[in-house]
Structures are given as C-alpha cells and as structure tokens.
C-alpha cells in the first residue's frame, strides 16, 4: 500500500467532504467514484471513511481526497472536526425526502463556517431513479442553489458519473485559483505519472458564483 502511495504523483491535493443527512447516498456516491460501480446497500458510515483518486484536469494531475462523513444528526458534533482545510464539499440530499432537503441550510452553514467561506460546494440531488417518489422538485432545488450561490446537478441513476464530473470541474476551478487563496490545498511536486488516472472527456463547465 505504502509502495503504491509512494509512486502516486500529483500536482494538487484537494480535500473534499461529502456531507448531508443520513441515508441520502453519500457512501454510495463515494463508492461510485472510486470503484465506478453502483452499490445497493452499504453499512452505515460511522465517523468518517476515506477515498482518494487521482484525476486529470486540464493537464494537471489532481488528487481528490474524499472524506465521507456520517449523516446522523448526533454525529454532527463529531464530524464537524473533519471540515478544516476542505477545498470542496459535495452536499447531498435525497430528492424523495424533503427532510434531507430542509437540512441543507444547516449543512451549508457548517461547511462555510468550519471549512472556509470560499469552500466550493456542489449540491447534489440524489436518487433520481426514484423519481416517482420525488418530494423536492428540480426547480425548487435550483432556486435554493441560486440563492446560495451554487449551480445544480441532478443525478440520473445511469449517469452517476456526472456527479463526479462536477467534482472534476470543481477541482479545475480550484486549480485555477491555486496561487491565490484556497485553504485546503497543497501544491506538490509532480514526479512521474501513474496508471491510476482517468481523463475528463468533456469540456469543463465552470460553476458560477461559487
């Protein structure tokens, strides 16, 4: 393991949080990103789980270090200590549960207060495959995103990948502002390349008003 870690090289390292209420599919998204597979049921996340991956964004190798947190309310006081230094957060709600949507404001406040005011946030309405049970409309969430200065993505079950594309975009945005001010970022020397890389095949779309 450490051998592999040694050979890993990247230009940037970003700490990314995955936050949101319990049962919204945070771990599933992480699994999707790392393994590129959909996972039906997974054990509840207790505390925090880590995942990381190196991606190529605009010719730069970026290592995303993802912190998947426990969503249950009472774990919040524990998980709050994980926010420091995060460059971005994937804020997840479940489109079939208004409760998870209503909680977004609190999560957002936490992220901005505990990580950084400039933290890049991606709002993600999960479980689009359960559209029949939808409780939160796209329009509504879109409005919330606009009011809070984010853009929105909705996830199709078959296109889970697109969520992580958002992350790549975020990574790119953060890369652009490298030299300026992003707390959760370390600029590292690139030595050589590894095979653990996939490239972004679409044009990166800028998030506005981050």
């Amino acid at each position: 393991m450490s051998q592999a870690a040694m050979s890993e090289t990247y230009d940037f390292l970003f700490k990314f949080l995955v936050i949101g209420n319990a049962g919204t599919g945070k771990s599933c998204l992480l699994h999707q990103f790392i393994e590129k597979k959909f996972k039906d049921d997974s054990n509840h996340t207790i505390g925090v789980e880590f995942g990381s991956k190196i991606i190529n964004v605009g010719g730069k190798y970026v290592k995303l270090q993802i912190w998947d947190t426990a969503g249950q309310e009472r774990f919040r006081s524990v998980t709050r200590s994980y926010y420091r230094g995060a460059a971005g957060a994937l804020l997840v709600y479940d489109i079939t549960s208004r409760e998870t949507y209503n909680a977004l404001t609190n999560w957002l406040t936490d992220a901005r207060m505990l990580a950084s005011q400039n933290i890049v946030i991606i709002l993600c309405g999960n479980k689009k495959d359960l559209d029949a049970d939808r409780e939160v409309t796209f329009l509504e969430a879109s409005r919330f995103a606009q009011e809070n200065g984010k853009r929105i993505r909705s996830r199709k079950n078959g296109l889970r990948y697109s969520v992580w594309r958002c992350c790549l975009e975020t990574a790119e945005i953060t890369t652009k502002s490298t030299s300026t001010k992003c707390s959760g970022m370390w600029v590292l020397k690139k030595q050589n390349t590894t095979s653990n890389i996939f490239t972004l095949d679409t044009e990166a779309v800028r998030a506005n008003g981050v």
Binding site: A22, D40, N43, G47
Partner: protein, 286 residues
C-alpha cells in the same frame, strides 16, 4: 419432603438440567431464592412486551434496516427468518426504554451481533441494555460526550505508552477521532474479525470498558514500526486501517493474551483520572 413418591414430587427431585437432587436438598431456601428470581424474570418479560407494543419516533430513524450487515445472509430481506425484523424490534424497544439515548447509528451493529449470537430478541435487548446502560460510558447519547472523552483518553494513553506514534499524529495533525471513532462506537465490529470481536466482548462484559483501551493500545503498540513508516496524513489513516487486518488479529487466542500483556499495566484509577481531565477538556472546547 422425603417419602413423598407421587409424580409431582418426583419432578421436583430432578432439577431443570436433569440432575437428581440429593435427599438433603434444601427445598425451602431454593424456593425462597427462586421465587425472588421469578419476580425479576417476570418483571423483565412484562417490560419487554410493553416496550414492543409502544412504537414511537425511533421508528423514523430506523427506516433503513437494510443498512445493517447487507453482507450477512441472515439480514437479507429474502432470509427466513429475516433478522432485520428482530433487529428493528430490539432497537425500537431500546429507544423506548432509554429515551435519553434513543437510537444512535452504531447501536444497530451491536444489537445485530447480539441477535446473531443469542438468536433471541429479548436476550439481545437486555444485553444491549447492559452494554449501553451500564458497561460503556455515554458513547451513544446525543452529545456523545463519552465517545469524545474516550478518544482523547486513548490519545493520552498512547502518549504515555507509545509516544512515537502520539508524536507522529501530532506532527501531521491527525485527530484521534478520525482513526478510532469506529473502534469505540462499533466495539470493533467490521474492524476486526468476528471471532476476535466476540472474544473481546466476553472480556468487555466481564471487565468493563477498559478492555477497549487495551485492544486499541495493543493494535497500536504491536504495529508501532509500521505506523511510523507513514509520511503524511492519508498515509497515517491508511496505516490505521491496515493494522486491524492480518494474522495478528485473526489468531484470536493469542490476540486476547496480547491485550493483557502488550499495553502493560492499565489501572482503572488511571483511566478514571484521564476520563475526568479529558472530559473537562472536551467540554471546554464546546
């Protein structure tokens, strides 16, 4: 009593385990003892049936029972009997019984193990109560103060017993909660192999929560050199995952012996004292 030979009396001459009672068996004292115990058993049975009847807000947080051991065949929806229902009952009953704690994620794994072992809903409930209500500090209450405290206590113990690791953690800014919160909350479920977990639990029931520190310290001390190879933050987190795998933890018999030797002496007085100071520290941090 002697000399009565009718069938009813004979039944009393053989105890519930099949052993014949000696002629001088003290029926009066035994009767007195057992009638007292029957009261306890009856009280528990009544309590249990009441707890099962009343269902409440706990149910809402329990909607995703399928997320407890999805990799265990007995917990699958298709299993017959499906232990998800048993688990649900135990947790709802517990939420009723201990309103201050209610339901906290992590309890589902513990209750799940108890069910797998006892194969009995009610027994699992009482064992869960023994753990949460008596043996463990308040790990699962909403403020999770006991958990936060014990994580700090472990940090202090590592400082005393494995200082190089404590120094490494400090240098890279790795909070103990990041690497050990699941150890405490899940009592090593899904961290260590099943048999090892059960052996640890045996000790936990007998000797109390101190055992958790013994296990944690053993894992850390045994793998000290390996942990110290870590050169950065994710590396450290990864090492802490690695040290819970392999022969060392699979060989549960030797592992259990190790936990009583490897960390050295660990008095309850030390732990109590550390808990007190760490608790203060946690409280002052808000």
């Amino acid at each position: 009593m002697a000399g009565l030979e009718d069938g009813r009396e004979w039944a009393y001459r053989v105890d519930p385990y099949g052993f014949e009672r000696p002629d001088d068996f003290d029926y009066a004292s035994y009767e007195a003892f057992f009638s007292r115990y029957l009261v306890v058993l009856t009280r528990r049975a009544i309590k249990w049936s009441k707890l099962l009847k009343g269902k409440n807000s706990i149910q809402k947080s329990l909607k995703d029972m399928n997320r407890t051991f999805p990799d265990n065949v007995k917990f699958r929806k298709t299993a017959d009997p499906c232990l998800q229902h048993t688990l649900y009952n135990v947790l709802v009953a517990y939420g009723h019984h201990n309103k201050a704690v209610g339901y906290c994620q992590g309890m589902n794994f513990i209750a799940g193990y108890l069910i797998l072992i006892t194969k009995n809903e009610e027994e699992s409930f009482w064992l869960l109560d023994a753990l949460i209500g008596r043996i463990l500090p308040d790990y699962y209450s909403p403020a999770m103060l006991g958990l936060k405290t014990d994580q700090e206590v472990l940090g202090e113990l590592v400082k005393m017993k494995v200082p190089a690791v404590a120094e490494l953690m400090e240098r890279h800014g790795v909070m103990w909660t990041l690497v050990v919160s699941r150890w405490f909350i899940c009592l090593f479920i899904d961290i260590l192999p099943v048999e090892t977990v059960l052996r640890i639990w045996d000790c936990l029931f007998y000797e109390g929560s101190k055992i958790i520190f013994r296990v944690a310290l053993t894992l850390i001390k045994q793998h000290q050199a390996f942990i110290l190879e870590a050169t950065n933050f994710p590396d450290i987190c990864d090492k802490f995952k690695q040290i819970t795998k392999g022969t060392f933890v699979t060989e549960c018999h030797t592992f259990m012996q190790k936990i009583f030797t490897e960390p050295g002496s660990l008095s309850m007085a030390t732990i109590d004292k550390l808990r007190e100071t760490c608790r203060e520290k946690v409280l002052s941090q808000g």
